[in-house]
């Protein structure tokens, strides 16, 4: 920081000879501008990530101090632990339920909101509104809607003859229920990104298509989707990563239950670290989470590169 303040305070008149100002090597100047970021990343991101990798190889005490080096034993144990395997299963099912459906709904909304109509701004605002909703507030609302006796969802289902579904207490439905609420919460953000992508498509392409007289669906398949693919590629990656990181809605709606059916990986890490005080196991799980996300990102880069159309 000192370099920054020094430059800032130097009087303007000094630089009759501009060469003289260059006396401070640009590398020092550059680094001083980057220093706050680098320092914060080091302390709160790189260091804890390395520490997590390190602790995952140890048995720890309740304060997270390493006691015995056990190598990969934490991992080997996890992969035979039915609780952890259940948590992996819940995480993958959750990703499977939320990502594709959420993307399709948001894409549909973005397509109809990209038409040039009077009052379209109002609809765009409405469709993006869930982005302003916190996970806590959304979950409380959905918790009430899922209430078996007074919630609106069972009231509607009663009308078609389905009775008393225990949405959040039945292991068969709990993960589906959490997934539905999550899809709703994420629509705003996904919609906003996709709408931005649609608006970046060159208008001329559509004009040409109109002159050629092709159908809406042909246009969608041959112009819109290929041109939107960089955005789609980006939002799929982000959705995957977000789904892996889910915590708040689980904490409020189900607490990982019933019978661990919604105990997704971040909730499992949280419980191991802050409820059971088993930091070694929590670190091993966090390491697995890290590699899962790394894998998804790498995979999408590899697959995406071939299919994505770059302008």
């Amino acid at each position: 920081m000192s370099a920054v303040t020094k430059t800032a305070n130097s009087p303007v008149s000094v630089s009759a000879n501009p060469k003289e100002k260059k006396s401070m090597p640009t590398i020092i100047v550059g680094l001083s501008y980057l220093l706050p970021s680098l320092l914060l990343f080091s302390v709160f991101l790189f260091y804890p990530m390395i520490k997590t990798l390190y602790l995952s190889l140890f048995i720890t005490d309740t304060q997270g101090n390493p006691l015995n080096f056990v190598g990969l034993q934490n991992f080997l144990y996890l992969f035979t632990d039915p609780n952890f395997l259940q948590s992996m299963k819940a995480t993958f099912l959750f990703v499977l339920y939320t990502v594709p459906i959420g993307l399709i709904i948001a894409l549909f909304l973005a397509l109809i909101a990209n038409e040039k109509l009077k009052g379209i701004g109002f609809f765009r605002t409405m469709f993006s509104s869930t982005m302003g909703m916190s996970v806590a507030a959304s979950s409380v609302i959905w918790m009430f809607m899922y209430n078996p006796t007074i919630g609106v969802i069972n009231k509607v289902l009663n009308l078609v003859g389905i009775h008393d579904v225990q949405w959040l207490l039945d292991p068969k439905y709990a993960l589906v229920a959490v997934s539905i609420s999550t899809i709703w919460m994420n629509i705003g953000f996904t919609f906003l990104i996709l709408l931005g992508g649609l608006q970046n498509i060159d208008e001329k392409l559509y004009e040409n298509a109109r002159i050629a007289g092709v159908s809406y669906w042909y246009q969608l398949r041959k112009i819109t989707l290929p041109m939107l693919s960089p955005t789609l590629f980006f939002i799929i990656t982000v959705s995957f990563i977000n789904a892996f990181q889910t915590f708040g809605q689980i904490d409020i709606l189900t607490k990982g239950g019933p019978t661990d059916s919604t105990n997704v990986i971040v909730y499992s890490i949280y419980k191991d670290a802050f409820v059971n005080y088993n930091v070694g196991s929590a670190s091993a799980q966090a390491t697995i989470l890290f590699f899962c996300i790394l894998l998804v990102t790498a995979l999408q880069f590899k697959l995406g590169e071939r299919k994505v159309h770059y302008q």
């Binding site: 303007v12 640009t26 680094l31 991101l45 909304l109 302003g132 916190s134 609302i141 009430f144 949280y270």
Partner: protein, 270 residues
């Protein structure tokens, strides 16, 4: 556009709005109901009473939580704007050896899930005495790769000749940054500010870990606390609190939706 297609689109838009907005409108509606009406499972209150709102502020220190959340969100917003714009400035205007490597380091931060680092971060916060402290809620979030990328895109549109001219004229780098670069990037800064405020206001897991007293607890954790205390008795009061919590961010989103959309796509894609 043909008349049929126009009206099909309108009906789809209206139907989608109704479905999507239903949970939010439902929360508003419940917040005005009496306890008996809530238990009957009504959709619309027979009369609008603000009793639940009064109760929400009396039963839990909701006002105090709101002030905490405001303070934390504003502080993080200011921090992110400053730290990100300094870094973005270096990436655009200051050429030095190894800059690309550092840029790669910034990109790599996006691959580390924050949740994978939360245990050591909690231990760090404990050591620094940052539990139940505003510092613990804010400073760890000041550096933001996404924010840096977003501002870098904007700063790149400033002609480099302008920078060279200012160098020749002997204007210090920091003054160029402060008096030229920041003012012409106002729009992007506002976009990033809105984004920072929204995400910080809605943060859940970290505040849950590092606060356990009413002094610094944010409004999101207050909601969780309320919902566990009042669950079987007073849904109307809980919903009133929900409405109070979502109003600021919904308003901010309604005002900043266009900019946010532009900014998010800009920072994300390129």
């Amino acid at each position: 556009m043909s008349i049929t297609r126009k009206w099909t689109t309108y009906s789809l838009l209206i139907a989608a709005t109704l479905v999507l907005m239903f949970p939010i409108l439902y929360a508003f509606s419940i917040s005005f109901m009496s306890g008996a009406e809530v238990l009957e499972g009504k959709i619309w209150p027979s009369s609008f009473s603000f009793e639940n709102y009064r109760a929400a502020f009396e039963k839990v220190p909701l006002l105090h939580y709101l002030i905490n959340s405001f303070a934390v969100s504003i502080f993080v917003m200011a921090g992110q704007l400053l730290v990100s714009s300094l870094a973005a400035f270096a990436f655009v205007f200051i050429k030095f050896k190894g800059r690309d490597a550092i840029f790669f380091l910034f990109i790599s931060t996006m691959m580390i899930p924050w949740e994978a680092t939360m245990v050591p971060n909690f231990l760090t916060a404990q050591k620094l005495g940052w539990i139940n402290n505003y510092l613990g809620l804010t400073i760890p979030f000041f550096a933001l790769a996404f924010g840096t990328f977003l501002l870098r895109q904007q700063f790149k549109t400033i002609p480099n000749e302008l920078y060279e001219a200012s160098q020749v004229a002997g204007i210090s780098r920091f003054r160029f940054f402060w008096n030229v670069v920041l003012p012409v990037s106002k729009t992007s800064l506002v976009t990033l500010g809105v984004y920072s405020f929204l995400t910080t206001w809605n943060m859940y897991l970290w505040p849950l870990l590092v606060t356990n007293t009413e002094d610094v607890r944010t409004v999101q954790i207050g909601l969780k606390q309320m919902q566990t205390q009042e669950i079987s008795t007073d849904w109307g009061v809980v919903m009133a609190a929900v409405v109070v919590v979502i109003l600021p961010t919904l308003l901010l989103l309604f005002l900043g939706q266009k900019r946010l959309q532009k900014g998010l796509t800009q920072g994300a894609i390129k």
